[in-house]
Every structure is written in structure tokens, then in C-alpha cells.
Amino acid sequence: MIRIDHAVKTFDGGTQAVHALRDVSLHVEKGDIYGIVGFSGAGKSTLLRLVNGLETPDSGSVVVAGEDLSKLSHRELLTLRRKIGMVFQQFNLLEGKTVRHNVSIPLQLAGVPKKEIEQRVREVLRFVELEDKENAYVSQLSGGQKQRVGIARALATSPDILLCDEATSALDPQTTESILLLLKKVNREMGVTILLITHQMQVIQMICNKVAVMEYGKIAEEGSVLSVFGTPREEVTRRFVRTVINDQIPEKFLSVVRSETRNQQVELLKFIGDSVKEPLIANLCRMEGLEVNILGATIQEMQGSVMSVFILQLIGDDEKIRLAEEKIDGAGALRERMAVGA
């Protein structure tokens, strides 16, 4: 659906060039909810804007729905944009106009007959659950309602792709959740492929099936949400994953662990889905000559699956710890040793 290959984009930032994108490749399949996460200035917006041609790469190619953007005339590009909706952090609505006016604009631009516009506007407003606000002025709406209008406007022309640039970053957690559920509904019921940007890992966790982590104009890591959350390789990814899944030993326990004089090893365990059938922890506890303390445990839901994380303190001689590790690995859990420092 979206295929970006080796995109490079450098901005003239006055005194020195800003390398917004350095050789970025991204493939989004039809039906994906693809999330891009990264810190401020990583180049996320620039990457997103390549997709509808608001930004053109210095080199590299952008192919959307089979069309190579660099080969399109300006007219053709404008037509293609009607098949790509865009939703913004600051909503970017006409504040002084009614909800209906805002949602009908893209249809008017596309030259849709008046009768059909009315009908379509009502349809999309019903979809975003704002049919009773048709005649309200945007300035009278709450942030969450405004974003629903923004989504309705983006959906008016029945696009195949929806681009969301920090669509929930201006909203409170509860509203964020309702908007994310709406996006999921857009994806499922309308079959719209969604490419979204966020700096909140919770957003990715809640609705995305794939994720790319961006840093310094590059994609540091990408893959299915489960694999990236389960086995993050890059430091930046770990930092993001840590914001939703606590894999640190709680400060309070750290001193207890450090003051332990017996031989010990702290282990980080991750269970994805129901991959682990046996009662692993119970079995570990039953091992002779091994003491098991649970230092931390969290359970996260994502992609219709469950990921649980345990931090275990194993106390016993080296041989016992090795046996325990074998047991853990044999059970199908992801495991890594944790350093506790002095």
C-alpha cells in the first residue's frame, strides 16, 4: 500500500543542514495500523508527509497505492491526495465554521454534487458518533469532539489510507483511548490502512500491529508490535518499551538485592500470549536449593494477546541457577540476565 525506499531529506536549517531523513525505508501493507514512534525531531512528520507528497524526498522513492509519486503530475497528485486522509494533532479545522461545513469541504473540493455531500456528511458523522453536532460550531466542541470532526473530515472522501500525525497528543488519556478505539474501528470496518505517528508507546500498544522506532532520521528498529515489545534490540526501543512495560527492578528492592550476600542472579522474563503452558514459576519455587523472589511483575495486553513480564531474583549456587535458567528457556519464555550493579 505504501512503499518508501531509501528516502533522504535534508532541510536547509539556516546555519547548518538538518538531516530529517537519512535513508529511510518503510513498507506498509494494506490493512495495517502501522505506528511510527520516536522522540521529537526524529523525522516522523517528515516521513509521514512524504506519503501524500506534502514533502518530496531529495532521493529515494515513494510509491502509494501503486503510484510512484515522483512520476505524477501536480494534478494527479492532488487527485491522489483525496484518497489519503490526514488527521492532525492540532485538528486544523475551521474553528469558526460548523461541523457540517468542515466535513463537507473535501467533498466540495472534489466536486461532489450537493445532495450526495449532505448524505455523505451525515454518514461519516454517524460513524464518528457526532451526528447530533452537525450544526455546532467547531469552537464550541471539546478536544476529543474536534478530533472526531478531524477524522470525519479525513474520511469524507472514502480514502484508502489515513495518516495521523500525533492525533491524540493534545488529548487527555481517556479521550485518547476513545479516539484510538475510533481509529481501530475505521481500520476494521472501513478497511482503511492507517499510518500513525506518536511519541506515546501506549498508542502503539493499543492499536498498532506494526511499529517502527525512529531516531536521528533513521528507523532504528521495526517489526510486529509483539516482537518489538517482546525483544527490543536497540537502546532507543528499550527506552520506549520501558514507558509501558516496566522492566526495571523497583528502586525499593534494589538495595535489598544489592545487600544479598549469597550467590544470586536477577532474571527478566517475558511471556507472550499463552506460549508458556506449564506453571513455570511454581516449578522454579519447588527446586531444591533455590530461592525465588518476585521483584516485579506486569501484564500488558496488545494485539489481542497478553505479555507478562516478571523480574525474578534467583538465590542459590551457580549450578542451581544454571538449571533454573534451562528450565525457563525450555518453557518458552524470553529471558535475559539483569545486572544489578554494586
Binding site: N52, L54, L77, L78, T79, L80, R81, R82, I84, G85, M86, F88, Q90, F91, N92, L93, L94, E95, G96, K97, I105, P106, Q108, L109, A110, Y137, S139, Q140, R153, T157, L163
Partner: protein
């Protein structure tokens, strides 16, 4: 009754009542036409400035530099200098260099760059995000101007034009003195030069009321356009 009013008027202000009306008419004539033509040209120049500026929708350094330079030059000239300077052009267009119609030429030349700057500021106030959304919808540049830029800036443009109109009123007074008639001419020729103090006061009062009414009207219209924000 009318008889006595007119004689009393002549006694106090030293001019006939119809003369005042005629002057008022000339002021309104100059103000109205110069405003209309000046605003259209000003809007056009403002759009060129906003579209061609760095990061604008149709970035074009050459056009921007030319328009910007022109606007700055004309704006830095006092009106009275512009007035005299464009006499040849006035003669070419109108055929003479006196009378209210002839004065429209320097007035328009004077006010349009001023309007351009004011309107440019109004247009730049429009949220870049709204323009970005318009682009993302596949709007053409023309559609962006007509459906997003101008409607969003309209309320602010009205206020800007009100400011411009007040400035223009001052210029019509000067133009009137040089040969255009109007209230300003009345004040200077009949009031000042003939030491007719009451007439001077009367014209000042009229001008003040004029400005107040203009501002009131401008605020009203602008407020109505801005109602739902």
C-alpha cells in the same frame, strides 16, 4: 425655518450650507473609490507577498522581492510627495491634475501598498495547520485562497482595512487641499487661510465623527465575522 438655518450657518461658519454638503460628498467620493480600488490592488499585492514568500505556497524569490521593494518604497514616501510625483501619471490617466477624480490616482497609489501590508499581516495570521490540512485534502492553490485563506482571514482583513481607511481619510484631506475638494480642503482654504476658526472646528468635528463611524462599522463587521470562534 430653512431660511434662518442657512443664514445662521453662513453667519457662523462663513460658508454656505450646500458648500459643506458638496465638500462632504467629495470626501466620501475620494474615500470610497480610493478604498475600493486600493483594497483590490492591496489584496492582490498581499496575496503575491504571502504566496511567494519563503515557505509560501508558490515560493518565488523574484516576485516577492519586487513586490516587497515596491511596497516599501511607496510606503516610505509621505503622501504629499507621492501626490506631486505622480502628477504626470495622473494627467495621463485622467487628463488633468485637479478635481476629486484626478486625486484618485495618487490616493490609490498611496493606499494600496499600505493596504497590502495590513492585509498581508492578516493573511499570515491564518493558521499554517489549516493550510496544511487544505493541501492534504488535495486543494489547488486557487481553492486554498478562496476557501481557506480569505475566509479565515476575512475578519482580520476587515479590521486592517478599517485602519487603512482612517489613514486614507487623512490623505484625502491633503489631496483635497492640492485640488480635490472635500472636507480637508474646506478646513484649510476656508477655515485656516481665512482665519475662520468656527469652520475649522466644525471640520475637525466632522472628521472625528467620520473616523468614529468608520471604526464602529469596521469593528461591527469584523466582530460579526468572528462570531463563532
Amino acid at each position: 425655518m430653512t431660511e434662518t438655518f442657512e443664514t445662521r450657518f453662513k453667519e457662523i461658519f462663513g460658508i454656505k450650507w450646500p458648500k459643506l454638503l458638496e465638500s462632504l460628498g467629495q470626501t466620501v467620493y475620494m474615500l470610497g473609490w480610493a478604498l475600493l480600488i486600493g483594497a483590490v490592488i492591496g489584496l492582490f499585492l498581499a496575496l503575491l507577498l504571502v504566496l511567494c514568500r519563503k515557505g509560501g505556497l508558490k515560493q518565488n524569490r523574484v516576485i516577492y522581492a519586487i513586490v516587497n521593494f515596491y511596497v516599501n518604497i511607496v510606503r516610505s514616501m509621505p503622501f504629499i510627495i507621492t501626490l506631486v510625483f505622480v502628477f504626470p501619471l495622473t494627467r495621463l490617466i485622467v487628463g488633468k491634475t485637479y478635481g476629486s477624480t484626478a486625486m484618485l490616482v495618487p490616493l490609490v497609489i498611496y493606499i494600496s501598498p499600505y493596504m497590502a501590508r495590513l492585509i498581508e499581516n492578516s493573511l499570515l495570521e491564518v493558521s499554517p495547520g489549516v493550510i496544511e490540512a487544505a493541501q492534504a485534502m488535495g486543494a489547488t492553490t486557487f481553492q486554498i485562497i478562496i476557501r481557506f485563506l480569505l475566509p479565515e482571514a476575512l475578519s482580520s482583513i476587515v479590521l486592517a482595512m478599517t485602519t487603512g481607511t482612517v489613514g486614507l481619510l487623512g490623505a484625502t484631506a491633503m489631496a483635497g487641499y492640492v485640488g480635490g475638494g472635500g472636507v480637508g480642503d474646506l478646513a484649510l482654504t476656508y477655515g485656516y487661510q481665512r482665519y475662520n476658526f468656527p469652520l475649522l472646528i466644525l471640520t475637525i468635528v466632522i472628521l472625528v465623527i467620520f473616523v468614529q463611524l468608520l471604526q464602529l462599522l469596521g469593528n461591527r463587521i469584523s466582530g460579526r465575522l468572528r462570531k463563532h470562534r
